[in-house]
Subunit: 367 residues, 4 copies
């Protein structure tokens, strides 16, 4: 109930930031699907810390080990267990936080809820958990790609710098373009400004937030289950489950609240090839909780990193006294660039789940 | 899997817009809880059509019948079944829509998914389903109120008119104030402008969207289950499951993407009574997916009603030819005022669910 | 969690023995399936009380009302809600039981668990709930029959009278034979003896138990999901959920505990048509939790009816004093004949569920 | 859905017989519970192969590694991940079985279902999976023991040798007595005969089955949820999920089918201390799916080991031709002695699950 998600394709994650390892169990995959472990590692490399100046300096190789569910390179239909060892955990800075909750973090709520808290590196509340999700999502991506479904995310906004213009997933090499800059923008100019905004904040001991946008293309019409397994709701849930997410929207999203019906409604028309399509896709590919065959478009808002090197007011829960805290340790000054592959993983898992539920992807892949 | 939601306290809804009835089964309530059926009816009356000039003219009394789960006025711990008869369904306008999907509606996606579609009044995709949710939510509200938890929603924005100023749930009579105007705003001036915006759109055969804001007060710290049953994600899911919802945010929400960590982080301090509190509650009452004891604040964006009396491009799925459609029938020119009690119901159900999961509310209420 | 079962095809039941009605919601059916409501009624008629001298005299027509999920005679893929009114409830005999739990009944355990108990006719613990299951199961049977899967149950043993000989589902008219006697035996001689045993017990104010055997034929190989959704375990669960069930076995069952491997193992051979088959099917059609294409064979043991007209020792929970009780009211002297259609319903629901999970039955039936 | 069980306390297992490792994730435990890893190892030692002449000679230390969820020796409320490396897998004997399904095994059904089968040592269908369940169950046992609930199983029958007499859990040292003989009987005479029966079968290249009986004492009244989460049904499900189980019964079980109501019904009386009790507990501690405070008594029938050194008829699935097979490799001539700790684990997990659901065990243990 608590650390498992998915309706048919289920992901269970486990592990703490400074424990011996983290990992996941991915259950419900069809049998007979080739698994490319190097491609899983590549996704983990996109998320891992220490990639650039705009990320934390914690140095983890995040090497994935595959422990079950694959035989002769193909899925058997049984659970895939993957494990990632924690190698560069430094718990020395956290002893001071034992009784002093960091503002903006889960320290206080975990303490209230559980009593016992593994405070080292945030324990279970650490975004390190998302590595396990990325590993599972990488396999979901491989499954989807066999059915021409592709999931691509990028930073739409960071530190007040917004990339204007519609994303075009059809542009050749657009993924490489996004990966070519440390902030993961498809616009090189915006990328530089975003990087500047992050570095500026870091120098001031502060942090910035941003918005990740994600597109899923090649999605057939008919995925999603009304009324309480809408793919829109499941996607929103998955994005809001990512640490630091504070908002999510689909298609025109919050802007639709300011539109008229005549503006918002997408016309149902035929494209040049005669295929039914909608225009301009304000719906973001989903109507009534079911995909309409157009690209799915979502945006998630991430708050600025809670760990900042500034004095903040808090309370010592042991003494009950007000105090001030400056958070030490290694932190990302902005979570958005590393959240990009996490968003992709979350979306890929939900899409694969619904593709299996709807029967679009069968339980046994053809040989 | 499809028409049931909740983890512990489960709601199953059923019924179509023009079928004989709609209803719900609410399962997982504690035993020994007094049930006030008149209060359930009152919530249904808030949602029912035909209340004012800004809603549809379909005339439904939405009288609720209680069929099980209550004995001598108290819950037995067994499922509560409630039924609402459809009395004023007029299917005459829908025969023309049999093969012609309305833009912005689920007609096309349902047809693609199911083949068989009950096209009368939108069938299962109709927002009429939300009456069943409101009935279930009304009982969840009664349960929560026994534990001093209160859920209050209102229209934050309609048709471009935004109510400024923070909502204050402590103001005496604020619920009555909200109910005193047809748009459900806590600001009488804004209410008039919102009403004008709706009427203006209706005259033009068009519709407007808006934003509902909801507050839950009295929520204890410790509700929510990381990492895949976060109360933030569950709340976002519940709001995105409401028809026409296109976005949801918590606390500072999308604005947090433009903030610095030093602005966003809430200080952890003591209030005058010595109780631990946070300020200014940018977190919206949730940190790490767990409540922190502050008011929960959410906003949901609703698109303008898809049914408009304007010519729109669509395709006749039988002939495969492009055509134009003007939607007939009775419709709300803005769904937001009637969405307010639906949002409250959705939030109340999620909170009651998590209050039971966490053990904050016991399985058997004290006598 | 509590009143819903099924993994993909979900049944939720509600209602008490002496409440206004009972009913169910069946969710997850494929769309485009013709629904024969008369056939549902026929199954309810098999289960309803007052059919013969060996059943209770409570007189219920058990007329089913269909409230949703079917349009133009076919499923829409949305939940089917069915309702059965209680018409002949006589609560007069139950006031005396308010504080005095009947031995062998759930009165004591419900009181301990819930505090509030609807003691009229057993309330929610009454086997009247199985009418709702039979209605849902009748629709599952219709779905299965489209795929040549048939479920047939009969009384293997009643009151110490055991029908010897293997059941042969291929005999023409075997279902009619079973229905032709009030105890539902496929052996007319045994039937008479079983009837005598029941009548003998009734005359003495006592009751008898028995064993129901059920066969599912036409089941393809490959249904069931190891290791925690084995179809064997799910079937055992479903049978043990029927009131008064105290044991369940598959194939050779308990006898296998006394066998050698060389006796127990079924040979894998080809039948005359060249189809792979096993012999003699000691496995009961299931190996490793997955169907092997042979008939599924299960047996469920039912205890004698707990309501007997004999003095029994119990305790008045209000006074805390020991007392004696003779149960009044109308009761079946043996539940087994009426349990036969309930067992069929339970098995049909599990098979339909797994047929959908495995993809053997699609989400949208061909037109 | 497939490799996870439990409603609130969830166990997910993964791994194949000859893969690098097997393991489990146990999620939903209360926080603040001391975890004794040595006691987990002790349970694994009871189940591990190579313990005596009556078990397989595969030599596994089954050393458990704890990877998450425990901090300073106590549960944090987050998932516990445990891993057991496979060290003595010998796949050499299995290449011959690639296309030739062994009678009585899951080889054929897995092949039909998945296409891809890890045939080495039975792959995922191997009873090796139960080691992961025993690890999880060992922790459930520790939780239950804090609430005076104890689960004890033993061999009631093996190879036709039945231990007569009622088990008495109150006898001092009865667990040690059970553990003192290789077949796990509480009767030393019966134990010798059982051992003889196993050795006799092994000499003949054959195998024997048996019956495990399990008692849970100290269980409070009120665990279990009608009507579709009955603890009786959940326990039956858990036992039927164990490899080789073909039947399960509660209390008087199948014998109740031959009893009269007057014999079967337990009298509700007071014991010497004034506590409400039932006699003679034919119900096996469960009425209406809810515990009544008496010992829970269950029996599970296990078929003889399917792997035997005798010629058996089967079919080469590649050539489609009938053939004969003699199973090589190391196998238990009787699974029952090693099934005893597995049965205990399964029962402990279900009881802990329901104790949490009912609120009898809180989400946060007192410090």
């Amino acid at each position: 109930m608590f650390n498992t998600f998915g309706r048919f394709l289920k992901v269970t994650t486990w592990g703490e930031s400074h424990g011996p390892a983290i990992g996941c169990v991915l259950d419900g995959l069809p049998s007979n699907m080739p698994v490319d472990l190097a491609a899983v590692q590549k996704e983990l490399d996109r998320r891992k810390p220490g990639q650039s100046a705009v990320t934390t300096t914690r140095n983890e190789s995040d090497t994935v080990e595959l422990l079950s569910g694959v035989f002769n390179g193909k899925t058997t239909g049984h659970p895939i267990s993957m494990l990632i060892k924690n190698k560069d955990a430094d718990s020395s800075k956290y002893e001071a936080l034992k009784d002093v909750p960091r503002p903006g973090h889960a320290d206080y709520t975990y303490k209230m809820k559980y009593g016992v808290v593994d405070y080292r590196g945030g324990g279970r509340s650490s975004a390190r958990e998302t590595a396990a999700k990325v590993a599972a999502g990488a396999i979901a991506k491989q499954l989807l790609s066999r059915y021409q479904i592709k999931v691509t995310a990028f930073s739409r906004e960071i530190g007040g710098v917004r990339t204007e213009g519609q994303f075009d997933p059809a542009i050749h090499g657009v993924e490489e373009l996004i990966e070519s800059n440390p902030v993961r923008s498809f616009d090189a100019d915006a990328a530089r400004k975003m990087e500047d905004a992050i570095n500026e904040a870091r120098k001031n001991g502060d942090s910035v937030g941003g918005i990740v946008e994600v597109w899923a293309t090649g999605v057939p019409a008919g995925l999603g289950e009304p009324v309480y397994a809408k793919i829109s709701a499941d996607l929103a849930w998955a994005l809001m489950s990512i640490p630091a997410a504070k908002g999510v929207e689909i298609g025109a999203g919050f802007a639709s609240a300011f539109m008229k019906g005549g503006e918002m409604n997408d016309a149902i028309i035929k494209d040049k090839s005669g295929k039914i399509t909608t225009k301009p896709n304000n719906a973001g590919g989903i109507l009534g909780g079911i995909t309409d065959g157009m690209p799915i478009i979502l945006r998630a808002a991430f708050k600025p990193t809670a760990s900042i090197h500034k004095k903040q007011k808090t309370i010592n829960l042991k003494t009950g006294k007000e105090t001030e805290l400056t958070v030490e340790g290694r932190h990302d000054p902005c979570v958005v660039p590393r959240a990009v592959p996490v968003v992709e993983a979350a979306v890929a898992l939900v899409l694969a789940d619904h593709a299996l539920i709807s029967g679009f992807i069968p339980r046994k892949l053809p040989e």
